[in-house]
Structures are given as C-alpha cells and as structure tokens.
Symmetry: C2
Subunit: 254 residues, 2 copies
C-alpha cells in the first residue's frame, strides 16, 4: 500500500489547525511524514514555497504537501490524494467521491468554527471583535453545530455496509478521522454546548471514541507529536462564547 515516497507536510508549527487532519491520516496509516515547519529551518522552507520560489503548484496558504514533484494545497485535496496511497478509502470511485464530499462539508464546518471567534477579520485579534463574536458564536452553537452534527449522524445511520459505525464503506476513511478531530475541537471550544448536544448525536460521538481508541491514534494522541489545542488555533476555548451559546439555546427553547 505505502509507496516509497517521502511525504513532506508544511503547516504552522504551533497549532493543530487544518494540518492536524493530515497528520491524523499519516498517523493512522502508520506512514512516516516529515512535519517540515516543526524542525529547524522548516519555516523558511515553507515560506519559499508560499513565495513561489519553488517549482510546482503555488499554494494559497498552509497546509500543503510535497510528494516527489507534486506540491498540493487545500486540506481536502491533500487527503483525497493521500486516501488511496495510505489505504484510507474504499476502492469504488463513487465511494471515494462520497468521502471527499463529506470531507469538504467538514471543511465548511471548520471554517465556520474559525469565524465564530473571528467574524470580522482574521487579521484582527479576537479581543478586537468580541461583541460580534458573541453574536456569531450564539448562532454557530445554537444553529450551525446542531445542523452539521445532525447531518453526519444521518450519514452514519445510512451506511448499513459499515454497520452505521463509519461514514462510508466497511472501514474507517480519512473522513472518519477528520470527524474525530472536529468533535475533539468542538468539545475543547464549547464543552458546555457539546455536553448538551452529545446525547442526540451518539453515532458521531461513537466515531470520536472509536477513532481515539485505534492503537496508532491512541499512541499519537499521547505523544509529543500531538500539539495541544490552544487559543491560536481554529478551535479556541473562550468561556464567554460557550456561555453565549447557552443563552442562545435557552432563547430558542423558550
């Protein structure tokens, strides 16, 4: 399955962020990868590619992957490329497109998770947009997270072939690994809201638990390679946003 290619991942060294979805794929497959920007001189190498000083496609932003002559950006595209090479997708073309579609929907959720604390501008600090963040987080937790979780719950419930335990086909795909990561991130950012939502989304929560227990993933999560969630990443814990969400939920419930 694994080819003798040297995989180089380029991503910010201090956060899980979007790079984590790709790290999890390599870790679950047990395939070695070079997390370039986390070693000395790596940030400079990443910058050179972003500035267009190397051959190959030009990335708009990290993460991107280098594999031989190929340079490929966009998390979902990287996972689609790696899927068959790491044994993380079924053989069937339609099933592979379904996995990719689910990954793109997870990517939409990730973008919204970021914008919940940065609704005005990525270039400003959270502290400069706290008031609109409170409003957006209320909508995100009150409307959007439930909508997305319900969607993945239904997708799981439809997959009889995978005994309703995985999103597509008989075995885990990179989309299941990513669903684990999204749930972990949302639980970090919104512990109250997620505790409230968990009972109604038990299949999603089971995927999270099942992925966390896979031997290679468990080993990774307890290793130093796994960075901690923090307030520089996509999933940030600001208690006031989790509370704002609760108020939103109460308002909707009344």
């Amino acid at each position: 399955m694994a080819e003798h290619v040297r995989y180089q991942l380029f991503y910010w060294p201090e956060i899980q962020g979007r790079g984590e979805f790709i790290r999890l794929a390599f870790e679950d497959a047990g395939v070695a990868y070079d997390d370039v920007a986390r070693r000395p001189g790596g940030m400079r190498a990443m910058q050179r590619i972003l500035e267009g000083k190397e051959r190959g496609a030009l990335p708009f932003a990290p993460p991107f992957l280098r594999a031989g002559k190929l340079v490929l950006a966009q998390t979902a595209a990287i996972l689609q490329y790696l899927g068959p090479r790491l044994g993380l997708v079924p053989r069937d073309e339609a099933a592979r497109f379904e996995v990719h579609q689910l990954q793109l929907t997870l990517a939409d959720l990730v973008a919204e998770a970021h914008d919940a604390h940065h609704p005005i501008a990525s270039s400003l600090y959270y502290e400069q947009q706290k008031a609109p963040a409170r409003l957006r987080a209320r909508d995100f937790v009150g409307e959007r997270i439930p909508k997305f979780l319900a969607y993945f719950e239904r997708a799981l419930a439809r997959n009889a072939q995978g005994k309703r335990r995985w999103l597509v086909g008989r075995d885990r795909t990179y989309a299941d690994l990513s669903l684990f990561q999204v749930v972990a991130g949302l639980q970090y950012a919104y512990p109250n809201a997620m505790a409230r939502l968990a009972p109604r989304h038990s299949r999603v929560m089971d995927v999270h638990a099942r992925v966390a227990q896979r031997p290679r993933i468990a080993a990774y999560l307890s290793s130093r390679r796994r960075l901690s969630f923090n307030e520089m990443g996509i999933f940030r814990h600001y208690p006031e946003l989790d509370q704002a969400a609760q108020r939103g939920a109460r308002k909707h419930a009344s």
Copy 2:
C-alpha cells in the same frame, strides 16, 4: 467525450449562487443538463433528496448533481467529477489536482464573499447585521480580495504552458470558468473597489474577458438560462459596503 448520461443539477432556482459554477461548466462544454429545481415540481424533487428519501449519498446542501446512481454534493467535488467527462481538465493527474486545488481556493473566496454581507448568521437578514457587515466588508475588500486576486494573478503568470492565459495547462479548465464567475460577481457587488483593483490584476481580468467571449458562454450569458445577480445570492450589491471598502482602502493608504 460526452457520455450518454443524463445530468441533473439541483440548485435554488432564483439565484446564480454556487450552482452557477456548474452551469458554466455544462454550458462551455455544450453538454445538456437538467436544471431540476427551475422546472415545475423540481423543488419537491430537490427537497426529497435533501431529506434523505432517495438512494445515494446524502447532500448537506445544494448544489448537488445526480448522474446515474451517483448523487454528489459540494461544488468543487461536482466540478472535479465532471471535469474529465466534459473535457474541462488536462489528462495529467498532477494537473487535475492543481485545477481542483485552485477551485477549492475559489470556493474559500466565495464563502468569504457571502460572509461579507452576512458576518453574524446566514439565518438573519442583511438588515439585521448591517453594522458588522460594514466592518467585515471593509476587511474583505481591503485585504482579502486583493490577496486572492494577487494569488490567481501569480498562478496565471506561472503557467508558461498556457502562455499565462489560463490557470493550468494549455487550455481553459473549469477553474478558469469559475474565475470568470467570481470576477463577475465581485464586479457586481463592489464596482468601485473592483475598478480600482483591475489594473493591477490584468491577467485575471483577461481570463474574465476571454471566458465571456467564448461562443457558447457568450450565448449562455445572453440567454434566459442565465439568471441575473440579485440581493438573494452570494454576490450582492449593497452600495454602502462598496463605499465602506473605499474608506478602508484610503485608511490603509494613509
């Protein structure tokens, strides 16, 4: 090239929105497609699939495509599926991934274009979030549009094989058609800002002009199949947001 498959596109009938990127691909290829929700009873058919009452993958939201047994959502995934079937991508696998990566970056820009007028919640009216929209639009037009346009300008300048006239390879791909649509949408929403940005992004503007002049696209654009931009879609013209952007630009320039 064209297979004898009946392509059914499902998308909201009153807006260009994300469905337009797929319409443009069919139109340029000269391949017939059924724009289901725009004919009587079509909205009900679309709703049935969204509710999970049909076989095949479950879409999170429109647009989605049905082709034989396949149901596929997510604009970029649909275009990736159609690309080889409609003759809108090169043969080479790396080049196809590059087209897809560019399309995903355009999708990120489209999501930001939407959020510029809806920074708080999709479920609220623009009028309920005018003040934060003014702030977000200032950042979008002052920082984000220039960053994206500069990126596509550089991608074009790197493509010697396509004489720096198309994004990837020798001929137009679906990403070029989508770049046309994004420029058209931004020009509709922010005429002042785009007039100011055009001279510095002449390769991007040339792609826009070159696509508009392709015979089948020109015929489509003047047909009744082409919906007008409007204030229900992704690209909306609110003069106060275009002006907010100008003030932002002046502030940055000072």
